[in-house]
């Protein structure tokens, strides 16, 4: 079943059409990477899912229920971490999670145990200071804790890692990995290495629409790169190949790459065999998300 379904979502701000018929389906228990460059409309999409923005057109369902703008009952399924989470700065983390539990209608005993559990998960269990002096990283962690408080079926995180240093990023990603058993995670980002690290599924947002979406592994095979890496034993051999094939690219003393669409691997290997060149390596280059992203965006 799809945890979240978006059908033909349109949204404009004034003259600017930000979403032009976006379709998205997030399968249950996936870690779903929602990728798009700055201003692509990631935050807009998420806010619409949360009923904070009214869509111009389109339908959204969360756990099979339709999302309504304003009074949004489907939010009971969702935990949300905004791009810049802000909490009541006069409270400390315990008090804040308590407050969150109370407005969600959890009972006292559960709030207490869940608060302790989550503060430990995000590493804030000894933090007794008020939120006022918190760093971005600490706020991000408290943000994850509050989002997970009422055991949401869907956790929506808006760029949870973009403001963090590498250590902080790794910690947040680890937390997302850990909660995967309990919930579906949808997170937006433009940091592709984060996506490669933890995502099972991705969607690429470009020009107001989802350009590609699916299992990360499927997409990688589908967009299999036509690039090969070739390594010779001597530099002279490399130069010989270079002279015969104008479109190869030298990337090291004995290394070059070429693309199938320019020179087929058979032509190159033919040349190698005919000239009795010894190879130390011939490799198909794994496509990176970067390439994929560029390819989709360039189209």
């Amino acid at each position: 079943m799809d945890m979240l379904r978006i059908d033909d979502l349109h949204r404009r701000f004034g003259e600017k059409e930000v979403l032009k018929g976006l379709n998205l389906s997030v399968p249950e228990n996936s870690i779903f990477g929602f990728i798009g460059r700055n201003g692509a409309g990631k935050t807009t999409t998420m806010k619409t899912v949360l009923g904070l923005l009214r869509p111009d057109r389109g339908e959204i369902t969360v756990a099979g229920e339709k999302v309504e703008f304003g009074q949004t009952a489907t939010n009971r399924f969702i935990g949300y971490l905004p791009d810049v989470p802000e909490f009541y700065s006069f409270m400390n983390p315990q008090e804040y999670l308590y407050f969150c539990g109370e407005i969600t209608g959890m009972d006292k005993k559960e709030i207490r145990s869940r608060t302790d559990e989550l503060l430990e998960l995000v590493g804030l269990q000894y933090e007794k200071h008020r939120v006022k002096g918190f760093s971005r990283g600490m706020k991000q962690r408290l943000g994850i804790a509050q989002a997970l408080l009422n055991r949401p079926k869907l956790l929506i995180c808006d760029e949870p890692t973009s403001a963090l240093d590498p250590m902080g990023r790794k910690e947040i990603l680890d937390i997302l990995m850990q909660v995967r058993e309990q919930t579906t995670v949808l997170f937006s980002t433009h940091i592709l290495s984060d996506v490669e690290r933890i995502c099972t599924d991705i969607a690429l947002l470009n020009d107001g629409k989802v350009a590609v979406q699916g299992k990360l592994s499927d997409i990688k095979t589908m967009y299999r790169s036509d690039e090969f890496l070739l390594e010779t034993e001597t530099e002279a051999d490399l130069v010989a190949i270079q002279n015969a094939f104008p479109f190869v690219e030298k990337i090291g003393r004995t290394q070059l790459t070429f693309r199938e669409r320019k020179h087929t691997q058979f032509d190159v290997l033919n040349f190698v065999t005919n000239h009795r060149i010894r190879l130390s390596k011939l490799d198909r280059v794994e496509p990176s998300l970067e390439d994929l992203f560029m390819e989709v965006v360039d189209k």
Partner: protein, 256 residues
């Protein structure tokens, strides 16, 4: 219900921890003491400047101070108290938009009307406590030094001013649901009050304007009948209710 109380508890905690309650408390206690104190000190002040005045040709005859002077001070100072109250509390809702704190509460399932109800309740209760505390202090000192019974319609005039304050609070709430920042709230609230004063200058509509309620002096000196205050009292009360009622659907439609 539980979530309403939780949000209200948070609101009160905020008022306490950000020091707003203390500030307002001090301010209104100070005003409460100042009203009789200024009245009490008037002869003494006049005496001390009498010499200089005399040399410039003015002769000051001794003045008798009564409870009326204390209450005149009250009606002179309470507008400043209300303005301070509005300035201190004007960002009560708009700050939650700009910081984004409200988004987390709402996405946790807090119904929107509860936000409006909480903010309106807290503001009204705060205003009521501050105002009547200020009144109580002035009343106590005035009774101690002079005789309150010479002021006519005293309680009625005080109630009128309180209703005016409640209306201002209701305006603050409705403009908070419309505006983006507290500047909008201040302009809206100030604008309506200003318009009411301006229209009040036209003899034809003066007695229908809520600002009519702020003329407590005419009441305590017995210059105007209490009856005459009824239209403006009803209009102010009606306007308050309308403001509070429409702020709920306005807030429900708001994009955050």
């Amino acid at each position: 219900m539980k979530s309403l109380f939780a949000f209200m508890k948070k609101e009160i905690l905020e008022q306490i921890r950000t020091g707003k309650i203390i500030l307002l408390g001090l301010l209104f206690v100070l005003f409460g003491i100042m009203n009789p104190a200024i009245a009490k000190l008037t002869p003494w002040i006049l005496e001390s400047v009498a010499d200089t005045m005399e040399s410039s040709g003015m002769v000051i005859t001794s003045v008798t101070i009564t409870a009326m002077d204390s209450w005149t001070q009250f009606f002179k100072n309470i507008p400043i108290g209300l303005i301070a109250f509005v300035l201190i509390e004007s960002s009560i809702l708009t700050k939650e938009y700009s910081s984004g704190t409200l988004i987390l509460s709402l996405t946790k399932g807090l119904e929107r009307f509860k936000v409006v109800v909480t903010k309106a309740t807290v503001l009204t209760v705060l205003w009521t406590i501050c105002y009547w505390m200020c009144f109580g202090i002035t009343y106590g000192y005035t009774a101690y030094f002079w005789d309150n019974s010479i002021a006519q319609n005293l309680i009625f005039s005080i109630v009128c001013w309180w209703v005016f304050g409640v209306m201002v609070v209701a305006l603050m709430v409705v403009f908070s649901t419309l505006a983006k920042s507290n500047t909008g709230v201040l302009c809206g609230t100030g604008g309506v009050v200003f318009a009411s004063y301006m229209l009040g200058m036209l003899p034809k509509c003066s007695k229908y304007m809520p600002s009519y309620l702020t003329d407590g002096n005419s009441l305590i000196y017995g210059l105007t009948d209490a009856e005459k205050y009824m239209p403006s009292l009803i209009i102010a009360a009606g306007l308050s209710v309308i403001c509070l009622v429409i702020s709920i659907p306005i807030f429900n439609k708001r994009h955050l």
